[in-house]
Structure formats: C-alpha cells, structure tokens
Symmetry: C2
Subunit: 145 residues, 2 copies
C-alpha cells in the first residue's frame, strides 16, 4: 500500500471517528508529508474545509516552488473547489483514492496538464459508500446538491 | 454605487488595514448579506482563505437552495480555487469589481452557466495596483506564482 494514500485514509477515518465526512488528504513534497487534513464540515461548521483544502491549509503558506514539486493525495476525486485550489497552486499531480462514489473535476485537471492517477482503492470506496448510505443529506450538503 | 460591491470594498479595505491583501467579498441571498470576508493569508497564515472563500466560510453551512438563489460579490476576478467553490455550490451569479490587475477563471465560470458581471470599479483597481506595487512577492504567493 502506498504510504501516502494510507495516510490520507487515516485522515478520512479520523474524520469519521469525529462524526464527520470521511475524506482525507495529504500534501507530499519530495517524499515527505508537509500537510495533512480531513473534511471539517461537521467538526468546524466549515463550508470550505474539504479534505484537500484542510491539507493545504495545514501545510501553511508556501512558495510556488514547493507546490510545483508536490503531489496531493486524496481519498476521493476532488470537487471543483479542491481542483481549483490544485490549479491555483500549480500542483502537478493528484493521486485519487476512488472516483466511484463521486466524480470530481478530473477532466478539467487533465486538460490543464495535471497528472491524475486513480487507485480505485476499495477501502476508500467502502468508507464513502457506508457514509453516503447513512447520511445522504450531509453528503449532499457537502457537494452543493 | 452598488451597496454590495461597496461592502466588498469595505472588506478589502479592512484587510489592507490589517496588513493583509486587499480583496473582499460578500455573499448576498435575496438582497441580504449572509456572509462577508476578506483575504486572510497574512492575518491567519492561510493558504485557502481568499476573499471569496472567507465570505463563504463566514456564511457557514448552508443548504444548496440558498447558494442557488445567491449572488457573490468580489473586488477581484475570482481565481481557480474561488471559481471552483462558486461552481461547487452552484452560485448562479458573480459580480466582479475588476479584472485588470488579475484575470481569474471568468471564462470557465461562463462556460458552466454562471453569470459574470465585471464592474471595472476604479477603487478596486487602485487598491490592487498599489498593493501589488508595494508587495509583489506577497501577491505572487497568493496566486501561486
């Protein structure tokens, strides 16, 4: 198992344990995790802290050169907001846990030159399937539906 | 003067007074401001709280129906992250103070059916021109350059 996707899954599980939405992410620079996070909608009443956004926020202020030499891992296909953040900072590669329960803006990312690798990890799928079945309203709120 | 753009400019000015990047935004639902904010990169060491994101965050958790009946005002053309958030939540209209100092993802927004109105407000332009001249490194950091 990729240790960085494992770290993202650990973040997703932490979010679930807190009563939140189980999506996690890590930002990796030159083989080292420099930011990690998970969705904070429930925990902080946040409309913007999706997993990827939380990882970027926790990484703190960084020069463009760091982002451009980084990879972001996320347990779920990134929505338009998180994809937009990836484009803003010029992160060249995204590793996605799964895109079966939600298809984000992978095509937009690819069209702008971002490498998108989808693992279809069964643990990521199971986390989201179970969550969506139990909390469909919360999930719809998180994706603006 | 549009009172909502005035409120966004007031937010931008507040950010400048705090030593931050002068970009402000308000989210307006049925003629009432339900969220307001400004760029927090300097003040909170934030990599994600652009003006629009801060307004969305301060508006708190909302059902999709509210976003879909709202207008977001921003003093500067929205970057890919903020445009992605607008798309995520299905906000149908964006009023932009100016796009002369920075051109955001207006074409992407329009291609997805979002109405984008650009005021080219001279106060918005002046706020950014002065700021970029004084703090080019900070500005580049904020737009990932």
């Amino acid at each position: 198992m990729d240790p960085f996707m494992q770290a993202a899954i650990d973040e997703a599980q932490r979010g679930l344990d807190e009563g939140g939405i189980p999506i996690g992410s890590v930002l990796v620079h030159q083989g080292r995790i420099i930011g990690r996070g998970h969705n904070r909608r429930v925990q902080q009443g946040s409309a913007t802290l999706h997993g990827e956004m939380d990882a970027l926020e926790n990484a703190g202020r960084l020069p463009a050169s760091v982002y451009r030499d980084s990879v972001i891992y996320t347990t779920l296909s990134p929505c338009s907001m998180c994809s937009g953040a990836i484009l803003l900072y010029g992160i060249p590669k995204v590793v996605v846990g799964e895109n079966q329960t939600f298809m984000g803006e992978e095509e937009l990312l690819r069209s702008r030159g971002v490498q998108v690798e989808v693992l279809q990890d069964e643990r990521c799928v199971a986390l989201m399937r179970t969550f969506i079945e139990r909390s469909p309203e919360l999930w719809n709120e998180d994706i603006g539906e």
